[in-house]
Amino acid sequence: MIDTSTIEGIIRILFVGIIITAAYIISTRNLLSVVSVYAVQSLTLVFIALALYSLEGSLVLLAIAIITFFSKVLIIPYFITTIQERIRIKRDIEFHFLNPTTSLLISMVLMLVIYMVLSRIMQGTPARESLFFFGAVLGISLMLMGMMVTFSRKRVITKALGFLSMENGVLLFGLFVTELPFIIEFLIIIDLIILVLLTTILSVGIDSTLEDYHQRLHRFHLWEEPGEDS
């Protein structure tokens, strides 16, 4: 068995991974890589859940790790990648309110503010120095960073990824601070999958029949059939 301090060390390293992926999602202009980074972020969460499972032995954590792996590492990225392969837009260069650099700077300030606020709230409690405190800080920060992506990007697909990143923040917060019932976690995952499906439809228009859709996408050179030259 690995001892507790080693696992905590691993978790801290994984936290760094979460921060890096979140920063990448906020700042990148490349649409293709952002999905992969999201998958990596989700995989990091899976590892964190597994590490916590090895610490606490709760089966719920194991179940969360498994469904997160299948939904957020495999299924959702698959959907989005499929869409991206069809849509000719490969880069997201339109921003609202904040550009990537400002977003990054604000994210840093945000993390600091949340750290200060939470340490004020938890002042005098043993939890303040623990791993769970950092988990909470990171969870809320990730949530807010995801929210920043949702309003600062113009592309629907990037907004959806921001929202997914927000949900990762909620999951992280839930893993460390509260114990969300498994059924809630499960339902959130289902919601996310539906969201991605809907985004897939909305991002290419929903105000007409499917045939009209495809015609329109072809007309604007936004859609390419498999095998067609890009």
């Binding site: 309110f97 606020v117 709230i121 807010l144 929210m147 920043m148 949702t150």
Partner: protein, 647 residues
């Protein structure tokens, strides 16, 4: 018995509301007649119970429903409430009688059923406001009154002018409700209950603030200047019977609210009285000055209502001043003057609105410059309007004279008792009050002369016919009441237990009548029976034409000049000359604009300010998803920081 009569009246009015609304698609006269019979029967019940309470002086109350401990639907009928119930009863009955025929001549097919239903609802709301035992109940029914009257004002909602008037009325009436609610909440915070009961102790800042807020709320509803602007918009656009109800009764409900709270809740300071007096006198003088300038018959009556409400406020102001100065006798005379004028104004203003409705119905115009010569064509209506005009001009022996005489008496007697500073104030107010009374007489001389005398000034007036008999009964009762209350004012006050310094107009009236009969008999006996045929002298003109008559504009021109500083007329002349030195005139235009002072200097700047703020606020709602997400983001951050700071 009182409670049973009251409940019976409420049920009857409810039936009058529900029946036409259930049969809204049935365009049958009997539905509307049944609906309008309900207020008549309810008025009989209300009148009976009011007279019992007024003469016996006993107070009755009951709780209908108590959902929670702090609040109940409770009603109390004391002498003050019964007096206002009597006003509602008399006017409502007469208006309903008139309305039953008038409504059949209106456009709107089955939509008229709704009008009848809402008329009953409006009367019901006013009855419930007056009999409310607690302030919360008062406010609820106050709001019901405001809402139902809004629907009545906007009956002709397809007309642009009606839409504008309806919007204006809705805004002002809701502003009034807002202030009343604020006052009630402030009183609740101060006393801890919604009961309309005395607040003990001196007038502290919160109590004074509550009074001021309630005063503004009631002033807006009563049409006190500068909150008056809704009246000249709403009255001309409403059906005439509704104008009669609103001007005759609804304005009095605001008066009731002010008196009720001053009498039962506050211990007023001297300066409160001065404030009410100043507001009243300003409204009285400016109201009648604007009425003189108005040539829309209903607009003129609306301004005249502002003047009369000003007179009532003057009486209330004097009452508060004398109460605070420890002069109970003068205070009682002033309050009685204010209350009696409330009743009188309800009677003669309803009479004038109903008869003007008949005139408008016959001539299809509201402009008095297009009327004239109606005394021959509509003799009964002209006689009824004449009685209303004499009453409102405060000429003896009619009722307007009696109530204004009481207020004048309070003014004259008071100067010997109050401090020098207040003496100056009262002298100024007395002079202005006298001016208002005089101008009021001038205003109705103009109105009666322009509408009924001389030759018709339009083809419609030429062919105007007397209205059906059913449209004469209601105004007839009101006219009879005006005469009765004027002639027997002294006796009526004696019966209800007040010895007031009024001349016995009954004796004077008998003398006047005797003199009239005597003169007639003498002339009849001594006059020559010989018939002499000759042409009437026409001031040198060959033939009398309507266009050469003395018009309403002409009549009010000297007054326009005297009060030009108040009217603020804008004269614009543009002249073009043939030569460079401006000697040989080629052509030119001239325009005279009447500046709407309150609209241009008060209402418009405030509305523009609100529009600017609203435009800035509306930018927050730009329909962009990203912006809303940004708001959520900022809110979450603010909450987190707030938690960190205060947790």
């Amino acid at each position: 018995m009182i409670i049973e009569l009251f409940l019976l009246a409420i049920i009857t009015l409810l039936a009058g509301t529900i029946v036409p609304l259930l049969a809204v698609s049935v365009n049958r006269r009997y539905i509307r007649t049944i609906s309008l019979c309900c207020p008549i029967f309810a008025s009989l019940f209300l009148g009976a119970l009011s007279l019992v309470v007024l003469f016996s002086g006993e107070t009755s109350g009951f709780t209908l429903y108590q959902p929670i401990t702090e609040f109940s639907f409770s009603f109390v009928i004391d002498r003050l409430a019964s007096f206002f119930l009597l006003i509602i009863a008399i006017v409502s009955a007469c208006v309903a009688l008139y309305f039953s025929e008038y409504v059949e001549h209106m456009d709107g097919s089955s939509r008229r059923n709704i009008l009848c239903g809402f008329t009953s609802l409006f009367i019901l709301a006013m009855v419930l406001v007056v009999s409310s035992a607690n302030s919360f109940c008062f406010f609820l029914f106050w709001e019901l009154m405001a809402a139902s009257s809004f629907f009545l004002v906007t009956f002709e909602y397809t007309h642009d002018e009606t839409k504008k008037a309806g919007l204006f009325y809705f805004f002002m009436t809701q502003l009034s409700s807002l202030f009343v609610l604020l006052g009630i909440i402030m009183l609740y915070l101060e006393s801890g209950s919604f009961a309309i009961a005395p607040i003990h102790g001196a007038s502290t800042l919160p109590i004074t603030a509550a009074f001021l807020v309630l005063f503004i709320g009631f002033s807006i509803k009563a049409g006190i200047i500068p909150f008056h602007k809704w009246l000249p918009y709403a009255h001309p656009e409403s059906p005439s019977p509704i104008s009669a109800l609103m001007s005759g009764v609804m304005l009095k409900i605001a008066i009731y609210g002010l008196i009720r709270f001053l009498l039962d809740v506050f211990t007023p300071d001297l300066w409160w009285g001065a404030l009410i007096l100043a507001a009243g006198i300003t409204s009285a003088v400016l109201g009648v000055i604007y009425a003189l300038k108005e040539h829309d018959i209903k607009g003129m009556l609306a301004y005249s209502s502002i003047e009369n409400i000003g007179i009532i406020f003057t009486g209330i102001g004097l009452w508060v001043i004398f109460s605070a100065s420890n002069l109970p006798l003068l205070a009682t005379i002033s309050l009685l003057g204010a209350l009696f004028h409330s009743l009188n104004h309800a009677l003669f203003k309803s009479l004038l609105f109903l008869t003007s409705g008949s005139v408008v119905h016959a001539t299809h115009t509201r402009d008095i410059e297009h009327m004239g010569g109606l005394a021959h064509r509509m003799p009964y209506t002209s006689a009824l309007f004449f009685i209303g005009a004499v009453s409102i001009s405060a000429l003896p022996p009619l009722n307007g004279f009696a109530s204004e005489f009481l207020i004048f008496t309070a003014f004259f007697t008071s100067v010997a008792f109050v401090s020098p500073l207040f003496k100056v104030l009262l002298f100024i107010c007395l002079a202005l009050f006298a001016l208002a009374s005089t101008l009021s007489a001038a205003c109705f001389v103009k109105a009666f002369g322009s509408i009924f005398l001389a030759l018709p000034r339009s083809p419609q007036s030429e062919v105007a016919k007397e209205v059906p008999r059913a449209m004469l009964i209601g105004p007839g009762i009101l006219a009879a009441a005006c005469i009765l209350l004027g002639v027997c004012a002294f006796q009526i006050f004696g019966i209800v237990g007040f010895n007031v310094p009024l001349p016995d107009m009954f004796l004077i009236s008998l003398l006047l009548l005797g003199m009239g009969v005597l003169v007639y008999v003498v002339l009849y006996v001594t006059a020559s029976r010989e018939v002499r045929v000759s042409e009437t002298w026409g001031c040198g003109s060959r033939s009398q034409q309507a266009s050469s008559e003395y018009t309403g504009h002409g009549f009010s021109e000297p007054i326009d000049i005297i009060f030009s500083a108040i009217y603020r007329t804008r004269t614009k002349n543009e002249r073009v000359f043939f030569d460079l030195k401006n000697c040989i005139f080629r052509e030119g235009t001239g325009e005279i604009h009447l500046l709407k002072v309150f609209e241009e200097y008060l209402y418009n700047p405030i509305s523009q300010l609100f529009m600017q703020v609203a435009t800035k606020v509306s930018r927050f709602q730009n329909g962009c998803l990203d912006t809303y997400l940004l708001y959520v983001f900022v809110t979450v951050i603010a909450l987190i920081i707030f938690l960190g700071w205060f947790a």
